[in-house]
Symmetry: C2
Subunit: 141 residues, 2 copies
């Protein structure tokens, strides 16, 4: 059984998320998703939707077999438990692939790291575009 791990915040779900998860799922037999904890989202604005709800929504998507919240302090803990063959990174995730490979190997975790390409098939396939659209639509009210 080839396990794939995808990770992310998944704040306001959109077709870009779906593409990332579907492409990740294709790389193995079972897709685990690690959903970022609220307090650990530091490189972009704090999520609008709380972690428990983001987790529920990700778990409800067809390509997802298992969804779990990330660890509060050790991002490698769930990865050690899941023992994936592949970890996927979204096109705009801030990880450096090489650095991640080094960190995994330093912890004796043997898995591939694959970056999934950008999806640009739809107009609002990013959380920030949706937020921008909400602001434009409701700003004057």
């Amino acid at each position: 059984m080839k396990r794939v791990v995808a990770t992310g915040t998944f704040d306001i779900l959109h077709t870009g998320h779906l593409y990332y998860l579907e492409e990740s799922r294709r790389l193995g037999d079972e897709l685990y998703v690690i959903v970022a904890r609220d307090v650990n989202v530091k490189h972009k604005p704090r999520p609008v939707v709380p972690e428990e709800q983001r987790l529920k929504m990700v778990a409800a998507l067809k390509p997802v077999d298992h969804a779990v919240l990330g660890d509060l302090t050790d991002m490698f803990r769930p990865i050690r438990e899941i023992q994936p063959s592949v970890i996927t990174i979204g096109f705009n995730q801030h990880f450096n692939e090489e650095k991640l490979r080094t960190e995994l190997s330093a912890r004796n975790i043997s898995c591939d790291v694959v970056r999934i390409g950008k999806y640009s098939g739809d107009t609002y396939c990013s959380t920030s575009l949706i937020i921008q659209q909400v602001l434009e639509r409701y700003r004057e009210e």
Copy 2:
């Protein structure tokens, strides 16, 4: 095979939508969802996410077997085609159940109409609450 039809706009997906769809799915063997066309959303603000993307996201949810866009002019056309045993209405949908029953029966469509209760298990289980939260979070920027 007992078919259930659920309907809605499903603008920014949240756990309230998921609850409505899961509860609808429980009432039969197969869940069809009719997703409102952009131009037909008149009783509340125009959706942020375009209809094709709303359709894709609804179709990607586990309780949903089939998702289709509504008809531009005749809301009963997809219902005639699907031939459901049950039509469900969300707690905040503006249909009047009795009026809907009368309209269905006037068209020789024989099915139950069931209103699904309100889900209040999560903080942001409505599109308008999420939009409000986006506005509060980003207004000053």
